[in-house]
Symmetry: C2
């Protein structure tokens, strides 16, 4: 019998999040899994890493202990770094992050702790996927996501991913029978228009809550936003070479040395 | 006389950092500047934003007050969001972040608070630049950087930048006379090999410090690492559409719906 793949599992909503529990349930059917996840919610952490502070990682028993689990005081990217170097005995065959409670489509990929964990694994040369469900609630229904987590994870194990690319998978918040399938997409050009909620604290000092409205200005039918709005699971190949290669020639024409 | 450009200035080392003070000194010669910077160091914060906590921003007087300055309790990305929506009276003509104490070349762009501030401004449609000096020390010598901050900032004001692109500028830690000029580059394929420093706290519990060794596996002479090692200031056009467009066709061949 072929050896089971070793899968590192993490997230950004914290080790007790229902989205992570769903991921564990599915991945237990296809590999040996080890969980290294933040001990508290880390949404919006982007690709933060812990440089000025100590990191703790400890074995925990969360559910039926089919899998090893470790709780980490750091960010999602820290969890992956620690998981690879200090927890796992060999390089994992796959790293899966999520299932995030809330969308990481389009520009959200930039702010996403879920995706930063996947990207960190990608930087380490490990095939990696981030899964997110378009429902921010703690008690969101993850059942429709299971089938897609399984299919896409198995496909990545089968095909591998080239160095420098990880997958960003978003799942619409509709019932399984209404999901039309999977679409390979590009990241839509969208952004948040912030609306700061300004208040006074009990001492009379102004403070703000960051809130905002999501604005999609991209009408392309090849985007993740289009796919999700139309009942598809979106899969975007994401790279961490941020170079805008097509603009290098233009910049050269500025004669910055002139 | 033409109206002076309005420049939003921020960083990730905090409002008192010498690198920021150098940036302010130079930018005061080319525009009207407003500073909104973190009240404490935020290195390695990546593109973190503050979702679960309150944000404070208050007017401070740091030096001779040629410029308005605001200290913010949030991350570099928060500073830009708050600066644009709550502090500035109009959309700035340019956003400049830095000068970072330490490199943000190659893969460091991913972890960089300095660059996340520039990218956040880019998302808002504002031409933006992040500057970094390859010296992590607080008392680093920023004098050689001044000329390049001025030249590149003026060029961006003159030419603008297309939507979706910001500049990542790194400056070698050598004297001005030894800098050979500016090179437009791509991000080198490099990464950190983590070496966790494991210790026991006074209560006997294990903890870690994240340390690591930077490894550049990219021999290209068109990379930022090559430019910096050879005495050039590196300028990389950075995009925040992370889609690996060239890989979409390949993923389609997986027949994920099949």
């Amino acid at each position: 019998m072929a050896k089971k793949p070793l899968i590192l599992v993490t997230n950004d909503d914290g080790i007790n999040a229902p989205g992570l529990r769903t991921l564990i349930e599915v991945l237990n059917t296809i590999g040996d899994i080890v969980v290294v996840a933040p001990d508290s919610p880390q949404s919006g952490m982007g690709h933060a890493i812990t440089l000025d502070s100590t990191l703790y990682v400890e074995r925990v028993i969360v559910d039926n202990e089919k899998q090893e689990e470790y709780s980490c005081s750091g960010t999602p990217a820290d969890c992956v770094k620690l998981g690879i170097r200090e927890v796992l005995e060999r390089k994992p065959d796959l790293c899966v992050s999520g299932i995030n409670h809330g969308s990481n489509s389009s520009i959200n990929v930039i702010y996403s702790g879920t995706m930063s964990a996947a990207i960190e694994a990608g930087i380490e040369g490990i095939p990696a996927i981030g899964f997110s469900l378009l429902n921010y609630k703690w008690n969101a229904d993850f059942s429709a996501a299971k089938r897609y987590v399984k299919t896409i994870s198995e496909m990545v194990l089968k095909h591998g991913l080239p160095n420098g690319i990880v997958l960003n998978v978003n799942i619409p918040d509709i019932s399984e029978k209404n999901i039309k399938g999977i679409k390979i997409c590009r990241q839509a050009k969208a952004n948040w228009v912030e609306e700061f909620d300004k208040r006074k604290n009990p001492q009379g000092k102004d403070y703000y809550w960051l809130t905002g409205k999501f604005v999609n200005l991209d009408n392309g039918e090849d985007t993740d936003e289009w796919a999700l709005e139309n009942g598809y699971v979106s899969v975007v190949p994401v790279q961490f070479d941020l170079t805008a290669h097509h603009y290098i020639q233009n910049l050269n024409s500025w004669n910055l040395n002139g």
